[in-house]
Amino acid sequence: MARAAVLERLIPPRVSIVWHEATVTEVVVESRRARTIVFAIPDWPGHRAGQHLDVRLTAEDGYTAERSYSLSSAPEDGVVAVTVDEIEDGEVSPYLVEEVRAGDVLEVRGPIGGHFTWSVDEGGPLVLVAGGSGIVPIMAMLRHRARRGSTADVRLLRSVRDPDVALWSAELAALTPAEGLQVRTTWTRRAPDGWDGPTGRITEPMLADLGPAPDAAPRAFVCGPTPFVEHVADLLIDLGHDPARIHTERFGGA
């Protein structure tokens, strides 16, 4: 019944996606290799948690490079922020992480994407699963939930290589305990000193324990490197979750 299993559609408003000149107001060091770049964009039309924007850089000879980055700021934050993880040997991310500073003007366009998004008005329950910097669009969702005072049932499991590259551990700790929100971490290479929680890659029992059960018909958002997303989405389906309610966003090759 391939044709009946139509994916949920979230249709964004048909606003023109135009290039803006965005002034960098702040660069926040998030980890050894990740920075949040905060922009002031006078005509920003607003965004939904989970959307991304395009950045265009132009060299003196007119050569340009464009890439997409997930927004980490909540719609309510009054600023537009992306969080960029430096890719070794990359062309754009090393510039954004190592070179950009407050006062710079970059070209950006957005917001873009209508599928990997969530609003508190849609309610829960949600299963959020993040691998590495896949936490970025999911963090926008958690911030949005907090800003709106939502008590929607939201469970996050993040998989992080080691504490040096973990994003927002302190903010995630500060968000909990909150009614309806659970945040868990598994460390795949090295856990913090004194850690007695999960370690290693995500397993079916970890996801079963995270809940909520498939009977509760949660929507799932899974973001991370391609093999991670393939692995987690397969486990969620094995647990009985409806594939049509699993949203994925992948990065890197396969």
């Binding site: 490079a65 994925t248 090759g253």
Partner: protein
């Protein structure tokens, strides 16, 4: 003309720039983009159908019947709306011209539908004349599930979301019916050389 970005020099690709559409960069990886999980597809029960606004009954092929049709192996460049381009990719499959040979229709619009519920749409003219294939081999190996295996559409002259993964059929429609990404704000046609990314481009 875009303003100069302070301190940005960039890294020019070491290929003919005429092969890279505007706003694209070249990758040697093969990124995977999908809105949902990779469907589990069994070729024992797989069928490919052409239906909708056509004369007579829908036409279907089983997996074995598809493989028995004339096969073409070809090398093309592919361009994803998320900015990567991959050059000289080699595929094997059946030309859509072959599949449409016995089909009688006056419709000029086609919706492509897939396992997993994904759809995309095209004018018929973008599928015919040696411009589109249903492919099942990449780099002389069976197409991996994450890349759309067992079979995907390949329409290399348009952005890659038109090259629908896990393709199961074509439905002729009387008029343009936007598919999944077309409905979500992406361009109706998606020509990378004209940088038709979003609906307002």
């Amino acid at each position: 003309m875009s303003p100069i970005t302070r301190g940005f020099r960039g890294r020019r690709p070491d290929v003919d720039p005429a092969r890279i559409p505007p706003g694209q960069y070249m990758t040697r990886d093969f990124p995977v983009l999908s809105a949902g999980p990779t469907p589990r597809v069994d070729t024992a029960t797989w069928q490919f159908s052409i239906d909708g606004n056509i004369a007579g009954h829908p036409v279907t092929w089983t997996w074995d019947e598809l493989l028995a049709l004339p096969q073409e192996t070809f090398t093309v460049d592919i361009h994803c709306v998320t900015k990567w381009s991959k050059l000289d990719t080699t595929w094997t499959g059946v030309s859509v011209d072959t599949l449409l040979a016995g089909i009688d229709t006056r419709s000029q619009w086609v919706t492509i539908w897939c396992d997993g519920g994904y759809t995309t749409n095209l004018p018929l003219a973008d599928l015919t004349g040696g411009k589109a294939w249903v492919v099942h081999r990449y780099d002389d190996a069976p197409l991996e599930p994450a890349h759309g295996g067992p079979a995907r559409l390949l329409v290399p002259h348009l952005y890659f979301w038109k090259s629908a993964k896990w393709v199961r059929g074509l439905t002729f429609t009387p008029s343009e019916e936007p598919g999944f990404w077309e409905d979500a704000g992406y361009h109706r046609r998606g020509d990378p050389w004209r940088e038709q990314r979003y609906w307002s481009d």
